[in-house]
């Protein structure tokens, strides 16, 4: 437990309406993960959003989208952008236990 845990970054705003996803991606450390909730799940179904990721210094170790929020938006059947996993609230809690700090953007 002396090794620091990676951070979990939580984004909740649509990438089409707000800059917070982009601004979050610019501040990732190696090994950090990214969780998309609420309107940020719109990013999960949009491949082009992630094109810019190649120019970021650090890629997230994992990118996850909260499945109940995808579902609520009628996006449950949509294919997610490459490499993005779905996670439910139990998985969200699990992510919080394995990361620290939890950084909401």
């Amino acid at each position: 437990m002396n090794k620091p845990l990676p951070a979990l970054h939580i984004v909740n705003k649509s990438p089409f309406a707000a800059s917070s996803l982009e601004q979050c991606l610019q501040r990732l450390a190696v090994g950090d993960s990214l969780l998309l909730i609420e309107d940020a799940v719109y990013a999960a179904i949009t491949e082009e959003i992630w094109d810019g990721l190649r120019t970021q210094p650090n890629k997230p170790a994992r990118i996850l989208a909260l499945s109940p929020d995808l579902c609520q938006r009628g996006l449950a059947d949509k294919s997610l952008a490459e490499g993005i996993e779905q996670v439910d609230y139990a998985g969200f809690v699990e992510l919080v236990t394995t990361h620290n700090p939890i950084h909401s953007w």
């Binding site: 649509s14 309406a17 609420e38 309107d39 179904i45 609520q72 938006r73």
Partner: protein, 113 residues
């Protein structure tokens, strides 16, 4: 006094949640006052039309009940969000951006959503 043309511009996703209903309530009220009501779905507003058949049916029922008949969806907003192939009820007309701009210029009032 002649009816006014009032456009409700719906540009937000779902996080704002119940507010979406509050915007539709205003539009329904304007229609009840015999104004010429237009709904325009732009930007993230088009995502709310993709929120599953049940949600869309509920929205459609409200709209039909209130006799709102001018409902516009911007084609470019759909395309940018990967929703170009979204199947919408007949009442929803997909318009090109320049058509939306022209319509907006003909309004007496524009109310943001």
């Amino acid at each position: 006094m002649s009816a006014k043309r009032i456009m409700f511009v719906l540009r937000n996703g779902k996080t704002a949640g119940p507010s979406t209903d509050e915007r539709i309530e205003v539009a329904m009220m304007a229609q009840a006052f015999d104004q010429e009501v237009h709904l325009a779905y732009l930007d993230d507003g088009v995502f709310t039309l993709a929120a599953g058949p049940d949600d869309l049916a509920a929205l459609l029922a409200k709209i039909e009940e209130s006799d709102i008949s001018h409902i516009w969806v911007e084609q470019q907003s759909l395309a940018e969000r990967g929703l170009a192939d979204l199947v919408l009820p007949d009442l929803f007309a997909v318009l090109d951006r320049h058509q939306i701009i022209e319509l907006m210029g003909q309004m007496h009032m524009v109310i943001p959503g």
